[in-house]
Structures are given as structure tokens and as C-alpha cells.
Amino acid sequence: MKTEWPLWEVFIRGQHGLSHRHVGSLHAPDAEMAIKNARDVYTRRNEGVSIWVVEANNIAASSPSDKGPLYEPSESKIYRHPTFFDIPDDVGAM
């Protein structure tokens, strides 16, 4: 079987103090090269100030068929949102 360079998922932190965000993937022989390649492929226009790379086969993901059991329970819990509660106008901003 032929071996190809492993696939890495790339996460970039943007300028404004936000979390690292998934931007795409690339192939590289090791982590060091993955970061160098990510710099060339994903930050050519000042998109970031920090890069994370992780080998794609180290990522565990939820399955699309689990959508119901995982996320439906929260749909009925509308009291978790602040807008559920009516606050009298006289109380002022809260």
C-alpha cells in the first residue's frame, strides 16, 4: 500500500482574541511542517496570530445519527434562555 503524508486539521486564532477556529486541513509529514504549511495556506492575508494543527485521525467526532438523542433534549428547556423570564419594565435593565 502507498503511504501518503498524514492529514492535519488546522485551527487559527484570529486577531481579536477569539478562540482558535477550524479553517481547513492539509497534508504534511510532521507537525512542524504542518504548521509551516498552514501558515502559507491559511494566513496569507493576516487571518491569524496563532496556529494549532492536529492529525485528523486523532479527532473523535459525534455521529450524524446521534443528532436526536444528543441535541433534542435541550430544545424543550427554553427556561435556560434569559428571554424566558418577563421582568417588569419598572425594574429597569437586567
Binding site: 501518503e4 486541513s25 504534511a28 509529514p29 502559507d40 450524524p64
Partner: protein
């Protein structure tokens, strides 16, 4: 369009009655505007059509570096050189975003590359035309990237999530490509009479090949009908071509250049330009491999792939050695 004449299932669009329950649920998701993600169930025809389309799109970005790369060392100023270098680097990036999107469908990067190199997969016909002088580089940015934008902007809404996201990134960068091209050709159109003549000559040669980028009329194509039902193609080829002509003619007029089509006229009733069809027999010859530069382009890609083999292998061996050492250290520490 960077993907031309992409084959779909070849069976035409199934009616709801002919669909399996899974296929019907899938079509409902598409019709609702849901994005399909890599791990979701999808019909095999959808997967295969996307691999062909995204793969061809990616190959076009990569091969598209060659006609422009030809002029990096001969750009007229250092600034133009830096700009062209950045543009060609973007094209490599666009190819990579697209290869990554295709890989989420279960095909590997090397398989895609090998299918390009042995001719099983195609790239856009436009890149089989030569760039003879600096005016051509302006024309390529203005017309070729302009035509690409026409096609890629609607694809940002395509049904397959990874493809749509790649398109968003690409479209952001593509606008720079078109504008730098227009800026370069404008300099020549407004320059000396000889420079103006070169700009006109570049437009003369690139006009028809640019119209061909959208592919022949597909209003009766069963492949396109299926791709449109799956929302991996949003507009017909004729719609996009018309849009391109309507947008480009005034831009040529501004430059004082003449679009090389004696039948080009504004049609008041339609609210569009009427124009001549390009020579489709030429298009089919180019697709078959008989364009002016097909042999050169494939030779250059094959040479790059073969010459790079020792680098790919060496870096892989080095990476494996580092991983093995790290593992050994870990075991020793435990």
C-alpha cells in the same frame, strides 16, 4: 467555469416515486437548504459527481498556475512581479482548499493527482492556451478570473458543506485576481499605441476561450439537470455566460478596446447583449487534448510530480523517524 461538462449519474433525475426512502429524505434535505456534511448519508451518485466536479476544479487551479508562472520572472516591474507571485500562490492555495474538500468524500490526494496525471480527470480548457506576452497576463486576470468568479460566487451556496466553505474563501481572494488583471491591462490600453495594440490583441485571443470556460449549452443535459437538483450546480452554463458578457463588455469599452465579435449588440428587449457562440469544435478538440498547450501542461505537471518524489519520500521518512523516537522516549519514561 473551472469544471466543465462534469458527468453525473447519466440516468436523469429520479422522480420521488423512483427514489428509495433514503434518497427521498436526502432530496428533502437539499430542497430545504440543509448543508450536507461528510459523515451524512448521501447517494453514491452525489458523492461521485462531487468528486469529479471538485477534483476538476482543484486541478484547474493547479494547472492554472502554469500560464501565469511563465511571466513571474519577466514581469515589467518589481511591484507587478510581487503581485503576480502572490496571485499564483493563491491559485496553489485554492487548489489545496478544493483537494481537501474532495478528500472528505473518501478519495485521497494522491489518487486525485494521479488521475490528473494519467488523463482520467480533466482541468479547464482555458489553461491550454498560451500566454505570449505581458498583456496576456492582464487579460487572464480580467477575463479568466472574471469568468471564474461568475461561476464560483453561486457555488458558495452549493449543498455540500466543505465545497461551499472552500468557495467562500476562494471568492474572497478571487476578487483581487480579477482587479489586478484589469489594472494591468488598463495600464497597457492607456499606454503607447503599441501597448494598446498588445492589449487589443490579448482580448482578441482570450475572448472566445473565456466564453468556452462556461462549457457548451447544457439546457438539455441530463447530467446538469441532476447536478442542479442536488444543488451542486446552481446556474446553467448559458445563464453564467450571458452574465459574464453583460458584465465584461462595458469594462472593455472603458478601456477603449473592441470585443472581437461583429455580431455583439445590446438587445433592448432582453436587457442583455446578443453575442456569437464561440467555435465549439475548437473547444472539443482542446478537451480531447489537442489544444495549443495540452502537452506542455501535462508534461510540466508530470515533471513536477516525478521530480518531487524524493522530497515527499524523504520528508515522510523523516517524519516517521521523529514519531518513532518520540514513542521510544515515552516508553522509556514509563
Amino acid at each position: 467555469m473551472y469544471a466543465q461538462m462534469v458527468k453525473s449519474t447519466g440516468h436523469g433525475v429520479k422522480t420521488r416515486d423512483e427514489m428509495t426512502p433514503e434518497e427521498r429524505a436526502f432530496q428533502d434535505r437539499i430542497d430545504r437548504g440543509d448543508k450536507i456534511e461528510p459523515k451524512d448519508w448521501m447517494p453514491d451518485g452525489y458523492r461521485q459527481t462531487l468528486i469529479r466536479q471538485i477534483g476538476q476544479h482543484a486541478h484547474s487551479e493547479i494547472v492554472g498556475q502554469l500560464p501565469e508562472g511563465n511571466w513571474i520572472t519577466r514581469a515589467p516591474t518589481l511591484e507587478r512581479k510581487a503581485i503576480l507571485l502572490a496571485k499564483v500562490q493563491d491559485e496553489a492555495g485554492h487548489g489545496l482548499y478544493l483537494y481537501c474538500a474532495a478528500e472528505t468524500l473518501g478519495v485521497s490526494r494522491d489518487e486525485l493527482t494521479e488521475m490528473l496525471l494519467d488523463g482520467r480527470m480533466k482541468y479547464s480548457s482555458i489553461f491550454n492556451y498560451p500566454t505570449l506576452n505581458w498583456a496576456d497576463i492582464g487579460a487572464v486576470g480580467w477575463l479568466v478570473d472574471g469568468a471564474a468568479i461568475m461561476n464560483q460566487v453561486p457555488l458558495q451556496r452549493t449543498s455540500y458543506g466543505p465545497y461551499a466553505r472552500a468557495m467562500v474563501r476562494i471568492c474572497k481572494e478571487e476578487s483581487f485576481h480579477q482587479r489586478q488583471g484589469y489594472d494591468a491591462i488598463r495600464k497597457m490600453a492607456e499606454g503607447t499605441p503599441e501597448q494598446h495594440r498588445m492589449a487589443q490583441d490579448a482580448l482578441n485571443r482570450f475572448w472566445c476561450p473565456s466564453l468556452m470556460m462556461f462549457g457548451p449549452s447544457d439546457k438539455d443535459s441530463i447530467h446538469s439537470a441532476q447536478s442542479m437538483a442536488w444543488k451542486i450546480k446552481i446556474n446553467t452554463n448559458d445563464e453564467l455566460r450571458q452574465k459574464f458578457v453583460d458584465q465584461t463588455v462595458p469594462q472593455a469599452e472603458y478601456l477603449g478596446l473592441t470585443v472581437p465579435d461583429p455580431d455583439l449588440t445590446w438587445n433592448e428587449d432582453r436587457g442583455h447583449y446578443d453575442f456569437s457562440e464561440p467555435d465549439w469544435s475548437e473547444f472539443f478538440e482542446v478537451i480531447k487534448g489537442n489544444g495549443p498547450c495540452n502537452t506542455d501542461r501535462m508534461a510540466a505537471r508530470n515533471k513536477a510530480w516525478n521530480d518531487g518524489k524524493w522530497v515527499r519520500d524523504g520528508l515522510l521518512a523523516h517524519g516517521e523517524k521523529k514519531r518513532a523516537r518520540a514513542k521510544a522516549r515515552q516508553v522509556a519514561a514509563e
